[in-house]
C-alpha cells in the first residue's frame, strides 16, 4: 500500500514538486549547523539591524560588500564602494558539534572573522537572521512530525478501542473528547502552558509545546477513527477474524489498522501545518520556545518592535515567509495524497 502510494505520488507533477521541496527543507534543517555561517546565539553588538549584505562577483570569486554604520540612531548602514570581503567555502570556524556529538571546525561558507556575512541581515543584537532561520527550522519542521505521531498513536488507540468495544469505555472517552473540544483551542493551550511551565525548564519547553499541541489534537482523530472502526466493525472479515479466535488487539492491529492507514496518511499530512502554526503562534505570543533557542515564531515575535516597522527592517519578517512556504507545501502534498487515496473526495475541477 505505502510503496504503491509512493509510486502514485511520483506520477503527479505537483506531488513530486512538493515532496522534493519538503525533502530539501528537511535536509537543510538536519544540516543547519553546517550550512549556516554562524551559531544562532552569535552576537555582534557593533552590527545591530544590519541590512542584508550585497553579493558581487569580483576577480573570479564571490565577495560580499563591507558596510559602514552611518547613523547609529537609525541603524543606517551604507556599503563602502571599494571594500569587499571574499567568501570562503568550507571556511574554518569556531569549533561546534553537529547533532550534539560530531565535533566540527568548518562551516559551508563564511568570510574572514573581521567582517560578517549577513545573507538576510541581522537582528537587534547583531545575530545572523539567515543562521537563525536555519536553526529555527529544526524546531518548526520537527514539531509537526513529532506532534502528528503522538496524536495519531493516541487517537488510533483510543478511537479504535472505543469503537471496537463500545459500551462504557466508548461513553467515557467520547465525553472526554467532547469536553476537550468544548474549550476554544487557544484558551486551552494558554491555560495548559501556564499550568505546566513550572515543571519544565527552558530546555524542555520544546517537549512541553509538542505535548500540549498533541493533547489538544488527539480528540479529533479519536472521534473519526472511532467512526471508521464502527463502520468496519460489522464487516465479514472482522467477524471471520473473531470466529478464528483472534484477540481484539490482533484484530485492531492486523485487520482494522491497515484499512485506516490511507485515511491516516492523508489527514496527518493535512494536519501537520496546524502544529507548525500552533508552535509559531505560541512562540510569537512569548509563551513558546524561549531564548536562546530559536524558532520561526520566536523570531517573528522579535519583529513586533515599533523600531522594526518604522525603520523598515523588512528582513526580520522572513521567518513568516518560511512558515508560509512550509505550510503551503504540506497542504498541496496533502491534497495530492487525498486525490490518490480517495478519488471520490476530489474537489471538482
Amino acid at each position: 500500500m505505502t510503496s504503491n502510494l509512493f509510486r502514485q505520488i511520483l506520477q503527479r507533477p505537483t506531488g513530486v514538486l512538493c515532496a522534493a521541496l519538503l525533502a530539501v527543507l528537511y535536509l537543510i534543517a538536519i544540516f543547519a549547523a553546517v550550512i549556516s555561517p554562524y551559531a544562532p546565539s552569535d552576537q555582534n553588538l557593533a552590527k545591530t539591524y544590519h541590512p542584508p549584505t550585497g553579493l558581487v562577483w569580483h576577480d573570479g570569486r564571490l565577495c560580499v560588500r563591507v558596510y559602514k554604520l552611518v547613523d547609529p540612531t537609525e541603524a543606517l548602514y551604507r556599503a563602502e564602494p571599494d571594500r569587499l570581503a571574499p567568501v570562503h567555502f568550507w571556511a574554518k570556524s569556531a569549533p561546534y558539534k553537529l547533532w550534539g556529538f560530531i565535533p566540527m571546525e568548518h562551516r559551508l561558507f563564511g568570510v574572514d572573522s573581521a567582517e560578517r556575512i549577513y545573507l538576510l541581515g541581522s537582528d537587534s543584537t547583531g545575530r545572523d537572521v539567515f543562521s537563525r532561520l536555519l536553526y529555527g527550522s529544526q524546531v518548526s519542521l520537527s514539531i509537526g512530525l513529532i506532534g502528528i505521531f503522538i496524536t495519531t498513536v493516541i487517537g488510533v488507540t483510543v478511537g479504535g478501542l472505543s469503537g471496537y468495544f463500545g459500551g462504557p469505555l466508548d461513553n467515557v472517552t467520547m465525553r472526554l473528547t467532547e469536553l476537550l473540544m468544548a474549550v476554544p483551542d487557544l484558551y486551552l493551550i494558554i491555560a495548559l502552558r501556564a499550568a505546566l511551565s513550572a515543571y519544565f525548564d527552558s530546555g524542555q519547553i520544546f517537549l512541553l509545546i509538542v505535548g500540549i499541541l498533541s493533547f489538544i489534537g488527539w480528540s479529533g482523530t479519536a472521534r473519526v477513527i472511532r467512526g471508521l472502526t464502527l463502520s468496519l466493525r460489522n464487516r465479514p472479515f472482522i467477524h471471520a477474524a473473531e470466529a478464528l479466535g483472534q484477540t481484539p488487539f490482533v484484530i485492531l492491529w492486523k485487520h482494522l489498522f491497515p484499512n485506516l492507514l490511507g485515511y491516516l496518511i492523508v489527514t496527518s499530512t493535512l494536519s501537520i501545518p496546524g502544529y507548525i502554526l500552533g508552535e509559531a503562534a505560541l512562540s510569537f505570543l512569548g509563551i513558546g520556545i524561549q531564548e536562546p533557542s530559536t524558532s520561526w515564531g520566536l523570531m517573528l515575535s522579535q519583529a513586533q518592535d515599533m523600531k522594526v516597522f518604522m525603520l523598515n527592517f523588512w528582513w526580520l519578517l522572513t521567518p513568516g515567509l518560511a512558515i508560509f512556504v512550509t505550510v503551503i507545501l504540506f497542504n498541496a502534498l496533502g491534497d495530492v495524497l487525498r486525490d490518490i487515496v480517495d478519488p471520490k473526495l476530489k474537489t471538482q475541477v
Binding site: Y187, A194, L277, M310, W314, I323, V327, T347, Q348
Partner: protein, 322 residues
C-alpha cells in the same frame, strides 16, 4: 424539534462544569497567584497580605475555591477582577462588544468577497479567473493569521495611512457623531481585512463546489429551456440553492465570534476580549479567565447546535427527533 434543542442545551451543563473544573485545576497547578508581585515588595506587611488572602479565599485549597466560585455563579456573580478592580461581568461586557464588532465586520467582509468569487469561479470553470482565484484561496489558507497581522501593522507604520492599533483616536471624544463613525471605520479597516481574509478561502471553495452541483441540475436546464435569461437563472435558481451549505457554516462562525480573534487582537493591539483574556492569563487574574472561558465555551456549544439546526432548516430532509 423543541425537545431536541432542549436536550442539547441540557447537555451543556455537565460540559460547562467539566470545562470550568479543568481550567480551575490548570490554573491552580501553575505556581503563584495574582498576589505574587505584591508579596515580592518589601514595604507591604505580611499581615496585610494574609488579610488579602483571607478576603479572596486564596488560603483555602483550590477545590474549595472552585465550589465557592460555582456557588457565586448561581447568583450570576462571576467574581472580581484583581487587576482591574471591577466585577468580571462588567469587564467582559466592556470588552465583548469590541470583539463582536470586529468579528461581525470581518464575517460580512469575507462573505461579501467569497460568494461572488465562488459563483464566478464556478460559472467560468477552468478559465484563467478560476485558476487565479483557486491559487489565491490556496495562498490565503497557508498564511498564518498573526503574520498577516504583523505585515498589516508594518504597512500601517510605513505608510501612515492607517492607525497601528486601538479602536479610537486620542481625540475621539471631541469628534462629532459622523466623524466618530469614520474614526471607528478607520481603525477597524485593517483588523477586519486580516481577520476576514482567513475566512474567504474556505467559504469560496464551498460556494464554488455547491454552485457547480446546482448548475447542472435538471431544474436549471428547465429554466434555460423555457427561455429564462441567464441573469434570472443565476440569481433565482442557482444562487438560492447553492448558498445552503454556506448558511450552515454560520453556526460555526457564531462559535468563534468572541474567541476567534485572540491572535489578531494581540498583534494589532485591538482592545477586545482576546487581548483581555491573554493578559489575564499572564497576570493570573483567575476569575477573568474563567469568565471568558465560560463565555467562549457556551458560544462554541451553542454554535455547534446552531449549525445543526441551520442544516435542518436549509435541508428539510434532515430530522433530528424521531
Amino acid at each position: 424539534m423543541k425537545t431536541y434543542i432542549f436536550k442539547r442545551l441540557l447537555t451543556m451543563i455537565p460540559m460547562l462544569l467539566g470545562v470550568t473544573f479543568l481550567v480551575f485545576l490548570l490554573m491552580s497547578l501553575s505556581p503563584g497567584d495574582f498576589l505574587t508581585p505584591i508579596k515580592a515588595q518589601r514595604d507591604i506587611s505580611a499581615e496585610y497580605i494574609r488579610q488579602l488572602e483571607a478576603e479572596f479565599g486564596l488560603n483555602r485549597p483550590w477545590y474549595v475555591q472552585y465550589f465557592l466560585w460555582l456557588k457565586n455563579l448561581l447568583h450570576l456573580d462571576f467574581g472580581y477582577s484583581w487587576t482591574y478592580k471591577i466585577p468580571v461581568v462588567q469587564l467582559l461586557a466592556q470588552r465583548a462588544p469590541c470583539t463582536l464588532l470586529l468579528s461581525i465586520t470581518s464575517l460580512i467582509f469575507s462573505w461579501a468577497v467569497a460568494i461572488p468569487l465562488g459563483v464566478l469561479a464556478a460559472v467560468y470553470k477552468g478559465s484563467i479567473f478560476d485558476k487565479i482565484s483557486a491559487f489565491l484561496a490556496y495562498t490565503t489558507l497557508s498564511v498564518p493569521g498573526f503574520f498577516l497581522a504583523l505585515v498589516a501593522v508594518y504597512f500601517a507604520a510605513r505608510t501612515g495611512w492607517f492607525p497601528t492599533g486601538g479602536l479610537t483616536s486620542i481625540d475621539h471624544d471631541y469628534l462629532s457623531f459622523p466623524e466618530r463613525i469614520l474614526d471607528y471605520a478607520h481603525h477597524l479597516f485593517l483588523p477586519t481585512l486580516i481577520l476576514g481574509i482567513g475566512g474567504i478561502a474556505g467559504l469560496m471553495r464551498i460556494m464554488r463546489t455547491s454552485t457547480l452541483d446546482v448548475i447542472h441540475a435538471d431544474y436549471v436546464m428547465t429554466a434555460r429551456a423555457k427561455g429564462l435569461g441567464e441573469r434570472a437563472i443565476l440569481f433565482r435558481h442557482v444562487l438560492r440553492n447553492a448558498i445552503n451549505p454556506l448558511v450552515t457554516t454560520l453556526g460555526f462562525a457564531f462559535s468563534g465570534l468572541l474567541s476567534g480573534a485572540l491572535l489578531v487582537e494581540n498583534v494589532m493591539n485591538y482592545p477586545g476580549l482576546g487581548q483581555l483574556v491573554y493578559q489575564a492569563f499572564l497576570r493570573k487574574d483567575q476569575f477573568v479567565v474563567l469568565g471568558a472561558v465560560v463565555l467562549g465555551s457556551v458560544m462554541l456549544i451553542v454554535g455547534n447546535l446552531l449549525a445543526d439546526l441551520l442544516l435542518a432548516w436549509t435541508d428539510p430532509r434532515i430530522r433530528y427527533d424521531k
